[in-house]
């Protein structure tokens, strides 16, 4: 697997939360395909220079969320059946949380409902149109 994860140990966001989100995102974006094997805990810990127990915790979370399958002796694999939808749902959770923060911030900065709605519409127009044009 290529190096597609970057974690920031100096952040106040727990490392296992950062890495769990990134792996889910990688699956949702197809950077990790269904059935693909994840590196061993030791290999990923050494690659990122982070604690192996932290990586093991990430794999346990992913297993619990139904995103990967771990079988003793064989390793961890992206689930073939539900991986897509589970990972999409997980990514939608991340996006919802980010959106929530943005709207809360707008409100606490004193923007009215109408102003926030307008800002949202403008932002959507900007990003979604760019995407259509480039495809």
């Amino acid at each position: 697997m290529p190096t597609i994860f970057t974690v920031d140990p100096r952040s106040g966001v727990p490392l296992y939360v950062q890495l769990t989100e990134q792996i889910k995102r990688a699956i949702a974006l197809g950077m990790l395909a269904p059935g693909e094997q994840l590196p061993t805990v030791k290999a990923l810990a050494l690659e990122l220079t982070v604690n192996p127990n932290t990586v093991a915790r990430v794999y346990r979370e992913l297993e619990r969320d139904g995103v990967i399958d771990t079988s003793p002796g064989r390793g961890s694999f992206v689930r073939g059946d539900v991986a897509g939808s589970e990972a999409r749902r997980a990514v939608a959770d991340v996006a919802r949380a980010a959106f929530e923060i943005a709207v809360r911030e707008a409100k606490s900065l004193g923007l009215s409902r109408e102003e926030t709605l307008e800002l949202t519409a403008r932002t959507i127009a900007r990003w979604y149109e760019t995407e259509t044009e480039s495809q």
Binding site: P9, V13, P14, A45, L46, R57
Partner: protein, 295 residues
């Protein structure tokens, strides 16, 4: 769960009327790396001395791999002191020979891998080595015996950033293979990266002992700004989830140790103009703990 590889219980060390280590209890499990932080004079090195039998505890118990210290403890335990102790007139190769004769699990191939990793010349005499090279040589010796227990006092002092990273990788590799590691550092970033748990000492006492990610999940700052002066906060300061409250004009900052969302909810009920939650990294948590005292 098997017995922790390193276990301290109520460890106390007094020198006359001075208590250097005061009732410290700490466990390091197999596969775990514990980072020990604390200001100078907090008792970190004294704790290590007791752990290794160099100082006799005034009270408390110590167990390595579930047993009290004995000569056989040291077959699988590696210790690197802050100032690497090498024989000045011997070369690095001579030191390896000593280790080959003294340690059952000495691994010569591993030792030479590590020499290459740290760019050390085995023909160099110890007295010719720079401070960083001495540290690197001591680390090479320590990891060459394939230890199950590692006790490292400031293991990267004098090393350049690349070699510092190698030290973290060596600890991570050892832990992934089932070793237990206890290391002290003044560089919070190293602990944050390599360790899964942190112990913070101050004035001989252990004031924080926790899984780092759990600390980060619990310790947050909630910052609320009100339109006018801060309203009556009620008993918020005595909420068990709150470490302390700071007020400044129309702004309140609540430092939480747990359930920051719940505390934010209490502040939100007072109708602030704005409210936000700020994540704290280990350095900030460390500074808070050391300036605060016990929690």
């Amino acid at each position: 769960m098997s017995a922790p590889l390193i276990s301290l219980h109520g460890l106390t060390k007094r020198y006359g009327s001075f208590t250097a280590v005061d009732g410290v209890s700490l466990d390091v499990a197999a596969g775990s790396i514990c980072g020990l932080l604390g200001p100078n004079g907090a008792g970190k090195t004294t704790t290590f001395k007791c752990l290794l039998g160099f100082a006799k505890p005034s009270a408390g118990t110590i167990a390595i791999e579930g047993a009290p210290l004995s000569p056989s403890t040291f077959e699988t335990l590696a210790y690197v002191p802050e100032r690497a102790s090498l024989y000045d007139n011997l070369t690095i190769a001579d030191h390896l020979t000593l280790y080959r004769r003294s340690y059952k699990h000495y691994d010569d191939a591993r030792a030479h891998e590590l020499l290459a990793l740290f760019s050390l010349d085995p023909k160099q005499k110890a007295q010719r080595l720079s401070k960083g090279m001495r540290t690197a040589a001591a680390l090479t010796l320590a990891f060459s015996i394939r230890p199950r227990v590692l006790i490292l006092d400031e293991p990267s002092s004098g090393l350049d950033p690349i070699h510092q990273r190698h030290v973290l990788d060596l600890m991570i590799d050892a832990a992934a293979n089932g070793a237990g590691v206890l290391f002290s550092s003044h560089q919070v970033g190293q602990v944050e990266r390599a360790a899964d748990s942190v112990a913070i000492m101050k004035s001989g006492k252990l004031i924080v002992s926790s899984v780092i990610d759990d600390l980060k999940s619990g310790e947050k700052v909630i910052e609320a700004v009100f339109a006018g002066p801060v309203p009556d906060l009620g008993d918020l300061a005595s909420d068990p989830r709150v470490v302390r409250i700071e007020q400044n004009g129309s702004m309140v900052r609540a430092v939480t140790r747990d359930d920051s969302d719940g505390v934010a909810g209490r502040l939100f009920a007072l109708h602030p103009k704005s409210i936000r939650t700020i994540d704290l990294n280990l350095e900030e948590i460390f500074m808070n703990a050391v300036s605060e005292g016990t929690h």
